[in-house]
């Protein structure tokens, strides 16, 4: 039970960085430098296509984190959660990076022909792509991407700015209004995230289809979003802020959510795999055949072990979720696995034939993958860190805050 005996006073708590450290600027500079170096120099004899493959991977990784935090914010509002208020501002700020992500999607739109085979179909896929033309066409693709970012920016910035307004006014009506708005927002969120999964990832294999695919990406988004949120909370506390407000009780709950979404991801991934394996219809198995041929079976196996078995066994117990050190490992681990999951979703070749013939070489990890994640990640961190520095790190006059401060697991 939550006990109200030893609630701290939030206004005596360090909850605001005195000044933006140089970290954000450095991160931004490194980010730009890494992206520029990758794009201009194209190390290792890479071409634009390789750069875009790496860029897409890094971009989707950061986008999932931001979208995961957006979901976190929305769901906390819709259920009027009390426990999470002390970390909600951090999630709001991570989700609030959406304008930057809208900017960073431009290269994907500009160089879309390098990425998406349906824009330049092979003879084999021509017939199907022609059928899908009402959806998979250039104009509609751009309209959809614009629509996703309009929705995501509106939602993330809207919820963030309302929360900031409450810092100033303490108006409890804002909480009521956000709760009302969160429900329809979740519908918009669900629809956009599902179709974005089709456009960004499923359309890489335009002959393939799976109804569960949107849910699959959603599971990864929430997992990585909560994992990153836990890391940011640790970082904030490491810099002397919110040291008493965020307790191991909150970390424990974040750990539980991570664990739940590790399992949920597995459930969705298993459902998709098992049903396709069982029915064994060539037009569906093609996608998995690629991922089990050549060296790709190793990636699949690492995902099975690393995205499910290992964290399931290690983090099912209460203790590793309540210790910051082990929770840190858990969060870093799920982020790594989510990156690998995206690699597995986006990078394998479209057609299995070269792999089956043994002529496709190993797993195409590239130096550019590192440069792009440093680049996109650096810019993303620069945004988040400087946004965190500008405002209070906690919704300090949220009516549910006192419940969050007094929160204890039982």
């Amino acid at each position: 039970m939550a006990s109200h005996g030893h609630t701290i006073d939030i206004f005596s708590e360090p909850r605001r960085f005195d000044r933006a450290g140089p970290g954000a600027l450095i991160a931004a500079l490194i980010g730009v430098a890494a992206l520029a170096a990758g794009f201009v120099m194209k190390p290792g004899g890479a071409d634009l296509r390789q750069f875009m493959n790496s860029y897409l991977l890094a971009y989707l990784f950061v986008l999932s984190i931001s979208l995961g935090c957006l979901f976190f914010v929305l769901i906390q509002h819709v259920v009027a959660a009390g426990w999470s208020v002390v970390v909600r501002r951090l999630a709001e700020q991570i989700a609030g990076a959406m304008p930057l992500l809208a900017l960073l999607v431009i290269p994907i739109v500009v160089f879309r022909t390098e990425l998406y085979p349906w824009l330049n179909p092979t003879d084999e896929m021509k017939h199907l792509v022609e059928h899908k033309r009402p959806y998979l066409n250039d104009t509609f693709f751009i309209i959809r991407i614009a629509a996703y970012f309009a929705v995501w920016t509106l939602l993330s910035r809207g919820f963030l700015s309302a929360s900031l307004r409450q810092d100033a006014s303490g108006d409890a009506a804002i909480t009521t209004r956000l709760r009302t708005l969160a429900a329809p927002s979740l519908i918009l969120y669900g629809v956009t995230v599902s179709f974005a999964a089709v456009d960004f990832m499923k359309a890489l294999s335009p002959m393939w289809f799976s109804t569960i695919f949107g849910v699959y990406w959603f599971a990864g988004c929430v997992l990585s979003g909560v994992g990153f949120l836990a890391l940011v909370a640790m970082w904030v506390q490491g810099r002397g802020q919110l040291t008493r407000a965020i307790t191991k009780e909150h970390y424990h709950d974040l750990g539980k959510l991570m664990f739940a979404f590790v399992v949920f991801w597995t459930y969705i991934a298993f459902s998709q795999y098992m049903l396709i394996w069982y029915a064994n219809i060539p037009e569906e198995t093609r996608w998995y055949l690629v991922r089990q041929s050549g060296d790709w079976w190793k990636v699949s196996l690492v995902l099975l072990l690393g995205h499910f078995c290992i964290p399931f066994v290690l983090f099912i117990s209460r203790h590793p979720k309540r210790s910051k050190a082990t929770l840190f490992v858990f969060a870093v681990w799920v982020l790594l696995m989510h990156w690998l999951d995206l690699f597995y979703l986006t990078r394998p070749p479209e057609a299995p034939e070269p792999l089956l013939a043994g002529s496709a070489g190993g797993i195409p990890l590239h130096l550019l993958d590192a440069l792009c994640i440093i680049g996109v990640g650096g810019l993303f961190w620069a945004w988040v860190a400087s946004a965190l520095a500008r405002h209070s790190l906690v919704p300090e006059r949220d009516p549910w805050l006192k419940e969050s401060l007094a929160f204890e697991n039982y």
Binding site: A80, S210, T211, Y278
Partner: protein, 469 residues
């Protein structure tokens, strides 16, 4: 305490202050009184006798229909080739789905610290058990040669005919069997402290003996409570995967096939969402008469109903998402068969069942966006009934439309149930309501000890006229 006639509106929550989950200013003793009075009263409301009478008659009809089926064979049903599954499996999936709300309330809402679950978990769990009993009936009787029903189980026999472990039908036996066992254990274990309360208050020797027997020597000592809480947590953790796994496995019965309309990867989560959807509708449908007839309006408050209606709205939207995704991907796949199957559902000979399904499950619950609808008893009664109709038709649409028009037009056939199937289905409702009626009258319908834990703090002090604990 007088019986409660009025609804007190506790659905509005001021930010920063949780609304009360028990209304009417009951103290601890008052809660015990309200719940136990039902079981201790020597009479019952007239509506209860009426319900029991009707459901007993339907139950008798069920027995007669099953006897007739066993005597004559499955030819008395309207099944044919290719429609080898009709009302039987539709009813099976429908009843399994109903059960899911109970498990979700007991397990998942428990892990999410949703304290309002305490008012409704007991009878939702009871509902789960009776629904799974109804469900289990249908696979058992639909197999044709009933004397070989034991083939369902992985028993070795002298003919060395082992069941096919790769068959989802066998997984079903495991999934539903586990589900029933864990649900029964969970429900019964939760009942023990309350059975002991009834034992301690019993006036007649017989009820003292029976409640005493089933309360297994519960004394309410600290050690008992400690073990009880531990076991409760473990059972909740065991039940959590069951909420997802049971209906996922049921969906595999269809989705592992290559039949258009059956084989689609979203089936597992879609079935789970639909199950929770229909289950909550059934809980609302049962809660409304129970709280009115047995004076439980202070414990199963408008707030509980409001919350359940929100769950119905949310899961209804998920089901709508699945319907739409299926349609989109049927087209997007470029598979002529898939697209044909979905067009046939919406515009073929069964179009009316498809649109009953779609309207009841997707359109009707949208009224719950409005608070007045979520707190209006007649509205929610109608919506919950329509949702159950819609979810029954969902299974009917999936099973019958896909089977009746498969890959070979020359093999197509239609399906129409016989009177035997119709009465068997009605009889399963008889079984369900008969069991539920017995439960309402003789067992504590609300978890007394759990509700006491969510009373407002000041209620712990004995109020005037109360006896404290």
């Amino acid at each position: 305490m007088a019986s409660i006639v009025h609804d007190r509106d506790n659905t509005l929550e001021r930010p920063g202050q949780r609304a009360p989950l028990v209304t009417g200013g009951h103290d601890l003793h008052g809660v015990t009184e309200v719940v136990c009075r039902v079981a201790e009263s020597r009479t019952a409301p007239a509506a209860w006798y009426l319900t029991m009478g009707v459901s007993a008659a339907l139950l008798a009809a069920l027995g007669a229909m099953i006897g007739y089926l066993f005597f004559e064979g499955v030819g008395v049903w309207g099944l044919n080739n290719p429609v080898g599954w009709g009302f039987d499996i539709t009813n099976f999936v429908f009843w399994v789905g109903i059960g899911h709300a109970g498990t979700l309330i007991s397990a998942i809402l428990y892990l999410f610290r949703q304290k309002w679950r305490t008012g409704i978990n007991r009878f939702a769990e009871a509902m789960t058990i009776f629904a799974v009993m109804c469900a289990g009936l249908f696979p058992g009787i639909h197999i044709g040669r009933v004397w070989l029903a034991f083939y369902l189980f992985p028993l070795p026999n002298q003919m060395a005919m082992w069941p096919n472990f790769r068959s989802p039908l066998l997984w079903d036996v495991f999934a539903v069997g586990t589900y029933f066992t864990v649900s029964l254990l969970f429900w019964y274990m939760g009942l023990i402290p309350d059975l002991a309360t009834l034992r301690d208050r019993a006036k007649s020797k017989l009820s003292a003996f029976l409640y005493g027997l089933f309360s297994m020597g519960w004394t309410g000592s600290a050690r008992h409570w400690h073990r009880y809480e531990r076991a409760y947590l473990i059972l909740a953790a065991l039940s959590t995967p069951l909420v997802l796994s049971v209906h996922s496995v049921v969906s595999f019965d269809f989705a592992t096939s290559v039949l258009p309309g059956w084989h689609t990867t979203i089936f597992p989560p879609y079935f789970v969402a639909g199950a929770i959807f229909s289950g909550f509708a059934m809980v609302v449908m049962l809660a409304i008469p129970c709280r009115a007839l047995f004076g439980l309006k202070d414990l199963i408050t408008l707030r509980h109903l409001d919350n359940m209606n929100k769950v119905i709205l949310a899961t209804g939207l998920m089901v709508g998402y699945a319907y739409t995704t299926e349609f989109f991907v049927a087209w997007y796949s470029g598979s002529a068969w898939e697209l044909f199957a979905f067009k046939a559902r919406a515009m073929g000979p069964w179009w009316w069942s498809y649109w009953i399904m779609f309207s009841c499950n997707v359109f009707v619950p949208q009224i719950f966006w409005f608070r007045w609808a979520r707190t209006n008893i007649p509205v929610m009664l109608v919506v919950s009934m329509l949702v159950n109709v819609g979810m029954w038709f969902e299974r009917f649409v999936i099973i019958v439309t896909s089977l009746s028009t498969d890959f070979l037009p020359s093999a197509w056939d239609t399906y129409w149930p016989t009177w035997v199937e119709a009465w068997t289905m009605a009889g399963s409702f008889g079984l369900f309501f008969f069991m539920f009626g017995l439960f309402c009258k003789f067992l504590p319908m609300v978890a007394i000890s759990e509700v006491k834990a969510v009373l407002p703090h000041d209620a712990h002090a004995p109020a005037a006229g109360g006896h404290g604990h």
